[in-house]
C-alpha cells in the first residue's frame, strides 16, 4: 500500500459529538473500513437486503463516520452472516466481521433484542447450550432421542454438571457475566423511562 493511502486510512476522522462511541469503533478495529470505496458490492450481494431495510454499505458508512444510530437500528441484526460481502469486497474489508464487531458494541451499549438477551443470559449461560434438551419443557426432545436409540441427553454439559460449572467460570472470567448484568441493568432503566413517559402521555 502506498504511503499516502496508508496516511489517508489512518487520518484523524471527523467525529460527531459522541466521540466515546466513535472511539469504540476505532478500538474495535473498524478503521479497516476507511478503505471502503462505497461501491455497494456488499449491499448488492446481501440476501437479507433483498427483503429487509438492511443496507450493508449504509451500516458500514455510519460506522465510518461515527454515527452511533447504527447501533440502535435493528438492521445490523438482520445479517445472517452468509459472508458474501466479506468474500466479494474489492477492498478486502472483512465486512461480515465488521458487522459482528458493531453488534458487540451495540450490546455493550445495551442495544440487544429481548429474544437475544434471553438466549444469552437465560439459556446459554444457564445450560451451556444455545438449544438445550434438558428441563421440563423439553421432554419430547429427549423422547425423540431415545426413539432413535440414543441416550435421552447427549454426553455434553447436559450430563456433566462439572463441565457446565467450568463454562460458567470461564464466562465470568472473560467478562460475559458482567456484560449480561450490565445489559440487564440498562434494559431495566430503559423500561422505567418508557413507563414514565407513558404515564406522562396519559
Amino acid at each position: 500500500m502506498s504511503d499516502n493511502v496508508e496516511k489517508y486510512i489512518k487520518r484523524k476522522v471527523y467525529k460527531k459529538e459522541n466521540s466515546r462511541i466513535a472511539q469504540k469503533f476505532v478500538d474495535a478495529g473498524l478503521e479497516k473500513i476507511r478503505s471502503c470505496i462505497n461501491c455497494g458490492t456488499c449491499t448488492g450481494s446481501c440476501p437479507s437486503g433483498r427483503r429487509t431495510a438492511y443496507r450493508t454499505r449504509s451500516a458500514i458508512r455510519k460506522a465510518l463516520t461515527g454515527d452511533e444510530s447504527v447501533l440502535q437500528d435493528i438492521d445490523i441484526w438482520l445479517c445472517t452472516t452468509c459472508y458474501y460481502c466479506y468474500e466479494r469486497c474489492p477492498r478486502n474489508i472483512p465486512v461480515t466481521d465488521m458487522i459482528i464487531k458493531l453488534r458487540n458494541i451495540a450490546v455493550e451499549e445495551g442495544f440487544i433484542l429481548d429474544n437475544h438477551f434471553t438466549l444469552a443470559n437465560d439459556i446459554f449461560y444457564e445450560t451451556g447450550h444455545g438449544v438445550p434438551a434438558n428441563g421440563e419443557g423439553n421432554k419430547k426432545w429427549r423422547d425423540l432421542r431415545e426413539s432413535y436409540g440414543l441416550p435421552p441427553l447427549p454426553p455434553t454439559v447436559h450430563t456433566h454438571p462439572e463441565a457446565l460449572k467450568e463454562c460458567q467460570e470461564l464466562m465470568k472470567s472473560v467478562g460475559f457475566r458482567d456484560l449480561m448484568d450490565n445489559v440487564a441493568e440498562k434494559k431495566k432503566q430503559e423500561r422505567a423511562e418508557q413507563e414514565k413517559e407513558e404515564v406522562k402521555e396519559k
Partner: protein, 316 residues
Amino acid sequence: MSGEKKWRYAFFLGCVAPNRYPMIESSIRAVFDHLGAEILEMEGASCCPAPGVFRAFHIPTWLVIAARNLTIAEDLGVDVITGCNGCYGTLRDAWYELLHEPELKKMVNEHLAKVGRKFKGSIEPKHIVQALYQDMGLDYVKGFVKHKFKDLKVAVHYGCHILKPSDKRPWGGDYENPRFLDEIVEITGAKSIDYKDKFMCCGAGGAVRTAVKEVAADFSREKLVNIRDSGADIIIDCCPFCHLQLDLGQMEANNYYKDIIGEQFKVPVIYLTQLLGLSFGIDPNELGLIKNHELSGVSPFIPIDPFIEKIKEELL
C-alpha cells in the same frame, strides 16, 4: 474383530443435532462406523458457541468457549468432526485465529488456565463432509454403495459456513460454485439438479431466526420456490440448523406466506448421512428415517414419506 480403526475422530455434537434433530446425530454415527471410522465422545462439550449469535454478543466469550471445546479434542489427541456448519464455522475460525494471532492465544490461555486447560493447536477441526471428501476420499466412500437411486432428483443445499470465509476453509478458495457436496450425493446414483441461487443462505444464521422469524422464513420461501421450480424430489443438506430452517421453516413459510406461494411447500429435507446410509444398506431405523408416530410436535415437521416411497423399490 477388525482391531484398530482406520480413522479416529472426536465427535462435536453442538446443539441442534443432538437436541432437536437427533436423527442427524444417529445417522452420522452409523455412517462413520460403517466406513471404518472410530468416533470418540467429547464428554462435557458445550455449545460451540454459535458464530452469528454468541460471537455477535461478545467476541472474547465466543473465542474462550470455542477454545475450551477444542481442548477436549486435544486431550483425546484426534481431529474434531462436526456435522454442523455453524459449529464448523466457530471451531474452524476460532482455531484459525488462535493459530495465527499469538496475542489472542495468550489471552485465551490466561482464562483457560483458571480451569486447568490450555489451547495447543494440536488438532484440526473438520466438517464431516471434509472428512468424507478429503480424509477418506470419494473412491473409498463409493466402494460402500449398495443401492443406487437412479430416479432421485436432489436439490443440494450447502449452507454458508461450510464454504465461507473461504480463506479459513479447505476448499481452495472456491465458494461461488463448488461441487464437492454434489459429488458425494451423486455416488448414490441420485442426480444433483441445478436451481436458481443454489448457494443462497437458508435464513436462519446470524441470530436472524431468533431476531425476526418472518425474515428467516422469507429466505427459506425464496429458496423453496426455486427448489420447487427445479422439480427436485428432496433437499439434501449438511447442517442441522439449515435443516431446521428448511424443515420447520418450511412450515413457517407455508403459514406466513400462504397468500403468495400458491401451493403449500412439502419438500422432504434429508441430511447427507441419511441418504448415504441408505445407499450403503444401513437399516433406516439407525438412520433415524422411521418416525415414531406416538411422539407429536417433534421433527421432522415436513413428512419424508414421499422420499421413502420414491426409493423403496431400489432398496430391495
